[in-house]
């Protein structure tokens, strides 16, 4: 246990001094971007590992928060530097969590692979809606020139944004880890393992699952907000099927059934896409990512973290079972 804390401290120290040493592209284009992906990915690995629910809606939830921020900022006519932008950010966070609760209420009517189908439909449908709707979503073009809320002490620039992202990523990771060890987290795992038994013990299974969706949604919304602040724009292409599947791909690369799989996966995915542009050309990035994803699903579902754990401990990961259809069948029949 102490060794783990030492590792954590070393990693944190490295992350803290990193922007002082690395060139700007490596701070912004690699580290910050992969941390934003990691936050959205965390919400998926949380749902997958503790809830047994693989949702393809996490980018959609991030997108509702991003769109929410863009729409509210535009309607209120707020300019850069206005501290009210933080209130808007909070409102957008709530919009994202609310959207996640609604999606969750719909999704828990199904399990396993049906849940995957349903959330895929919701994700693609949201992108279609964003493309068609001009009243709020501004259609194909979406929103550009989205401003960031002012950081404390008037800090700005890529390094300040890197630290903001790092702090929020750590907060999300620590928060989800804490939740997974709380009463709620254990109840969620009990429901994942045997919904019927948990129900007969008096747990309200649907309510727990919906709450897990909402919680993961809040985390995804944090990622969505950081993304629009970083990019400065949001459009239907940001929430379309390609980026939606990229979130799944990076989580499977890192390990879908452990929280930190999202961290490892996001970094590996980002490095892969950055280097692939030089290696095979920008137009074949999806080909490469898709092939890596396919290879991993052919051999295991634990991804990189699973392989590492397997090599170092040789013990079976406790309580990290993938959702099985038998379980799904027993809970629906």
């Amino acid at each position: 246990m102490t060794r783990r804390w030492v590792w954590c401290a070393v990693l944190l120290l490295a992350a803290a001094v990193y922007p002082l040493l690395a060139p700007r592209f490596w701070v912004e284009g690699v580290a910050t971007e992969s941390m934003i992906l990691a936050i959205i990915g965390l919400s998926l690995t949380f749902l997958a590992s503790y809830g047994g629910m693989v949702s393809l809606c996490q980018l959609t939830v991030a997108g509702t928060a991003g769109y929410g921020f863009a729409i509210l900022t535009a309607r209120a006519g707020l300019a850069a530097g206005d501290p009210w932008l933080w209130a808007v950010a909070l409102a957008a966070l709530l919009i994202g969590a609310l959207a996640a609760l609604l999606i969750g209420a719909l999704a828990v009517r199904t399990t396993g692979v049906y849940l995957l189908m349903l959330t895929m439909a919701v994700a693609v449908g949201f992108a279609a809606f964003a493309r068609q709707n001009y009243e709020y979503m501004r259609g194909f073009d979406g929103y550009a020139g989205i401003v960031q809320p002012p950081l404390p002490g008037g800090a700005s620039g890529p390094t300040a944004f890197y630290y903001l992202t790092l702090v929020l990523l750590m907060a999300c990771y620590a928060g989800l880890t804490w939740v997974s060890r709380s009463r709620f987290g254990f109840a969620l795992q009990a429901i994942r393992d045997d919904a019927r038994r948990a129900e007969s013990l008096g747990y309200r299974t649907d309510a727990h699952r919906i709450a897990a969706f909402g919680l993961a949604g809040a985390v995804a919304a944090v990622g969505g907000l950081l993304d629009v602040w970083y990019q400065g724009r949001i459009a239907p292409a940001s929430v379309d099927i390609g980026p939606t599947i990229n979130i799944l791909i990076l989580c499977v690369l890192g390990g879908l059934y452990s929280l930190r799989g999202a961290l490892v996966g996001a970094l590996v995915f980002k490095l892969l896409t950055v280097f692939a542009t030089d290696l095979v050309g920008a137009q074949y990035i999806n080909l490469l990512a898709g092939s890596a994803f396919l290879l991993i699903t052919m051999f295991s579902t634990d991804g990189i973290t699973g392989a590492v754990r397997h090599m170092t401990t040789r013990s079976s990961p406790l309580g990290r079972a993938p959702p099985e259809e038998s379980r799904a069948a027993s809970s629906t029949s």
Partner: protein
């Protein structure tokens, strides 16, 4: 009134397309329990192959056959080499098809580019006919409706009366038993997967003729097929037909009367179906 009738006819046209495409999806799902997320990509590939073959040979029918054969062959290979590795873990199979779809989308983009393709219909389907109350309506679109009706009836007939049909129904209900009776279930799985993919590919050619195809249509047809089978019910022809009808009508009526919210109407359908009948409107009872 006229506008309403035309939207209903348009709704029936897209419903026919959705039905043909979704029936391939439903067939594969019913027999193999594989949720084929590469469904949209296979639709698009079928359309592209059909377009290229029809242009090379000058025959629309040959285009449909080439698309069917090409994609069926590809699907058989994918099933044998990749999907079987999941050992019937249907969740992993679904993930695998997502990977396959990603790869296919990239390859198709580099093969056929980002253009929009529209295939010319055979000459005997060109032109329009005079209909009461509506005026002139495209012959081609009526033909698509007739084709979907014909295909639906043919599939219903084949599944309920022929030997192969009863084998498939037996496989949907209990594959272990079917295997114990001495039938080669694994070979049947490959065959059904290939046939399902072939039907999807053929519907891609029809889609390229009646409407048009371009990158992005794969996501659209995947979405509608998912909604069609969730709303209508998995693994029944009647359910697929009803789901396609509802989704097609909701989409086209929505496009006519409130274009910027058209896509929400299909979602209202989806939400209502899940809220009141999560097993689908017409289901086989047990699942």
């Amino acid at each position: 009134m006229n506008e309403f009738l035309i939207s209903v006819l348009n709704g029936l046209t897209v419903a026919s397309l959705y039905f043909i495409a979704a029936s391939g999806f439903a067939l594969v799902f019913g027999f193999l329990r594989v949720v084929n997320m590469a469904h949209g990509a296979m639709f698009l590939l079928g359309g592209y192959i059909g377009y290229s073959a029809a242009h090379a040979t000058g025959s629309w029918v040959l285009g449909v056959l080439a698309a069917f054969a090409g994609v069926a062959l590809l699907a058989a290979l994918l099933q044998l080499l990749i999907l079987r590795r999941a050992r019937e873990d249907i969740f992993r199979e679904a993930l695998m098809t997502i990977g396959i779809a990603t790869i296919m989308a990239d390859l198709m983009l580099s093969g056929w580019g980002g253009h929009t393709y529209q295939l010319e219909a055979p000459a005997w389907l060109d032109g329009s006919v005079q209909l009461p109350f509506i005026g002139r309506y495209s012959m081609l679109r009526l033909a698509a409706i007739a084709l979907a009706l014909g295909l639906g009836l043919a599939m219903w007939w084949a599944l309920s009366t022929t030997r192969l049909g009863s084998l498939i129904r037996a496989g949907v209900d209990d594959q272990e038993m079917l295997g114990a009776l001495g039938f080669n279930v694994r070979r049947m799985q490959t065959l059904v997967f290939a046939c399902g993919a072939g039907i999807v590919a053929a519907s891609g050619v029809i889609g390229a003729t009646v409407l048009s195809i371009s990158p992005g249509e794969d996501a659209r047809y995947l979405l509608t097929s998912l909604i069609v089978v969730i709303v209508g019910g998995m693994g029944t022809i009647a359910g697929t037909a009803l789901g396609a009808l509802l989704v097609g009508l909701a989409e086209q009526l929505g496009l006519t009367y409130s274009p910027t919210y058209a896509s929400t109407y299909t979602f209202v359908l989806l939400v209502m179906a899940l809220a009141f009948r999560p097993q689908g409107l017409i289901s086989r009872g047990t699942r």
